[in-house]
């Protein structure tokens, strides 16, 4: 009876598992197939953060990880200095920051279909966490850990 009810209300057997898994794996595949887009996204991310704090561009690490039923972007961005006055650096004089919706590279990227696949053109929402700054010089500079960029398909 429970099974029948589950089916009635759309909580079916393995096909819903399959659909979820496919959705996530295709997002990962699309990211893997569009390295230029991912690089552009990383650059833009760093540009935005640099307006608030000084970062070490050489040591930035951005990865994508599956967390439960979503794909998340994890960015680890070491901070070199925080401006005492809390001034925000204005954008570069050549105008606005480049749009996050970088054009997809020619041959390898997937097309931009309906909303079901990852809307990777949109900048993900970010949640920032700061580590406490330590006085001992041996300890590496604190990193700005940006996580929770949820690249899940909006429905």
């Amino acid at each position: 009876m429970i099974d029948f009810l589950k089916r009635l209300f759309g909580q079916t057997g393995s096909s819903s598992t399959a659909k979820e898994r496919l959705r996530l794996v295709l997002m990962t595949d699309h990211l893997e197939l569009a390295p230029e887009m991912v690089d552009a996204m990383k650059r833009d991310l760093v540009d935005v953060i640099s307006r608030y704090v000084e970062v070490d561009r050489e040591k930035i690490d951005v990865t994508f990880e599956q967390q439960d039923k979503t794909l998340a972007m994890l960015a680890n961005i070491p901070i070199l200095a925080v401006n005492r006055n809390g001034n925000v650096v204005p954008p570069a004089s050549n105008g606005h920051l480049p749009s996050a919706a970088a054009p997809a590279p020619a041959a390898q990227s997937a097309p931009e279909p309906a909303a079901q696949t990852a809307p990777v053109a949109e900048p993900p929402p970010k949640r920032k966490r700061r580590r406490r700054k330590k006085s001992k010089p041996a300890i590496p500079a604190p990193a700005l850990l940006v996580s929770g960029g949820v690249l899940s398909a909006a429905k």
């Binding site: 819903s16 959705r23 595949d29 990227s109 997937a110 309906a114």
Partner: protein
Amino acid sequence: MTARRIVITSGKGGVGKTTTTANLGAALAKRGKRVILIDADIGLRNLDLVLGLEKRIVFDLVEVAEGRCQLRQALIKDKRFESLAVLPAAQTREKDAITEEQFSSIVERAAEQCDYVLIDCPAGIETGFRNAVAGAAEAIVVTTPEVSAIRDADRVVGKLAARGKPIRLIVNRLRSEMVRSGDMLSVDDVCEILAVELLGIVPDSEEIIDTTNRGEPVVLDQSSRVSAIYNKIVRRLEGELVPFTSFAGTGFFGRLLDAMKAG
């Protein structure tokens, strides 16, 4: 006026490209269209076998490309139809025996003498695929409602879209009872994931296995349900708006009806 040049591809092997090519070709020929089928699977040819023409091969695609014979000498006319001919692949060569330009040129020559050129693409996304796609102006992607097939189809859709070819989808080997029990992705699921226009839904059927073994396209059997489905597909291909029909009328839950959709 030259023919429409359509490649039938999938990425994943074994989902029914060759069977689809053969049956679409036969169904189009039955409607009076002049059709040339080209087997682009050099080294592992099967289009000839599926149509029961394997004993009549004299020349093949590679020999035409190398100029060792004329196209018309290599084309095998299927005697069961007014206007269906097949250009078989070579069996003992490899996919790089032919270039994209050579293949395109052969397709163009074929296109001058018929209404439809259907290209049976090999599995994969390598040289064989690239050659087959180079000759085509449109694509039909075939998939089954299974995880690996859909993943591979997605890859292929990406590659085709990057080349600007219009793409339509055939979902093959649907098992309605499994969709109903929640153990198989539905056609709607597949279309949602791939986001490609649907051309046809072909159910899993014993008839296909049987007729393929005998080298007879299923469309020869007027009474066959699958035959009717291929006929609907070619009507859509020709531009008609043919609705996708449900099978069993039982059940009043929308989900169940969707699950039984085929046509």
